[in-house]
Symmetry: C2
Subunit: 225 residues, 2 copies
């Protein structure tokens, strides 16, 4: 039942993770109460290692203690285990395929290029290559958005909630890659703003400046020297 | 209706692609007739470029001319667009999450390590690293298999059909990595054999020796020199 703790829903979480954030947005959209369990990834706890022994990563959803790993798998699980809550995925098979395709695209391209942007040395050829690929990936995403208000169409949907966490990372991508999302993809930038006005999104994301600070920490700790 | 050409189903295909093969197995399991359209990836045709402009890859399912791209998206689409055919995914939400998790795992780990095995120079440190990671990935998969006959449980299911195409690549992985799947993962090797006896699989895969020959072609053309 919306608003109650559903047979003990818990989310092994990390505030800045776009993959955890999409789960938080989904839980909020569904009105499902849960206990967020913030993880320390520099010192992974037993609960995380037991719940996700394969990838050892957040997010993990625990439902009555049983783990579901990988964020897109979790989004599907929420639709299927709580069919009485508002559906995240659309009902039309083609629209569902569209949503899955683009969520996967963002994970493979946008996130992956973003990682190379902070990991590779500033100004090095691999970092410049990551910048070119990031701009291209965002342009491809913007082309799919077209003139629609949301990637899902007229209303905010699965594909928007899956991808909007990356919008909080745009500022970091811009500073690392020395480009402006607003300039190269104005409609995508406006889409990010539009999604950010939604309560479920506003409550689940963090200010871009704080994300940028975190990227600096990643770069110092794990970036190429 | 099973056995008839469903509103013009066509599969942009490549005989050796594990991603195309899982779609072929799924179509066979569902008894859906389709027109296979073998693609020449060294000279990509207009149909492929129009149907999958983002990734420009096989497989693509055309349903009444409308494209669905990415193999796992296609498998979901087949279940959702043809609900009267035998379901590929199980009905239980946890079992569905399990199937999705492991199919994604195989794509990210097994396929990715396999690519590095042929792409990196034989005996180089990156290739030896790929070998270690491949053995580890197969062991993790085998641990999930446990004593079950199939990854899906007692019966062949979604996760089996998604992963079994990689079994036809095992011989190639073994020769490139100088290890034996039979030795390091005997239950997984037996699972591959067991799945291979199924008609839908036998009809969709190709002999490991032929796959190995193809890997040699890939290595010559795209491998590190």
């Amino acid at each position: 039942m919306a608003g109650e703790k559903e047979e003990g829903l818990q989310l092994l979480d990390l505030w800045v993770s776009p993959f955890a954030q999409r789960c938080r947005i989904a839980l909020a959209e569904k009105g499902l109460a849960y206990e967020p369990l913030e993880q320390d990834l520099s010192n992974k706890g037993d609960l995380l290692l037991r719940a996700n022994p394969v990838h050892k990563k957040v997010p993990v959803l625990l439902h009555g203690g049983r783990p579901v790993c990988e964020s897109l798998v979790i989004l599907h699980y929420l639709d299927e285990a709580f069919p009485e809550t508002p559906a995240l995925l659309p009902s039309d098979p083609h629209a569902r395929a569209h949503a899955r395709f683009w969520a996967d695209y963002a994970d493979r391209k946008v996130f992956e290029c973003g990682t190379r942007l902070w990991k590779r040395k500033a100004g090095s050829e691999p970092q410049l290559q990551a910048r070119r690929e990031m701009v291209e990936a965002l342009r491809i995403l913007e082309a799919d958005l077209g003139d629609k208000p949301y990637l899902a169409g007229e209303a905010f949907g699965f594909v928007d909630l899956a991808i909007v966490p990356f919008a909080a990372w745009f500022l970091g991508y811009e500073r690392l890659g020395e480009f402006s999302v607003e300039e190269v993809c104005p409609r995508l930038a406006a889409w990010g703003e539009r999604c950010g006005e939604r309560e479920s999104v506003a409550r689940s994301l963090h200010p871009p400046e704080k994300v940028y600070e975190f990227i600096g920490y990643l770069k110092d700790k794990y970036g190429d020297k």
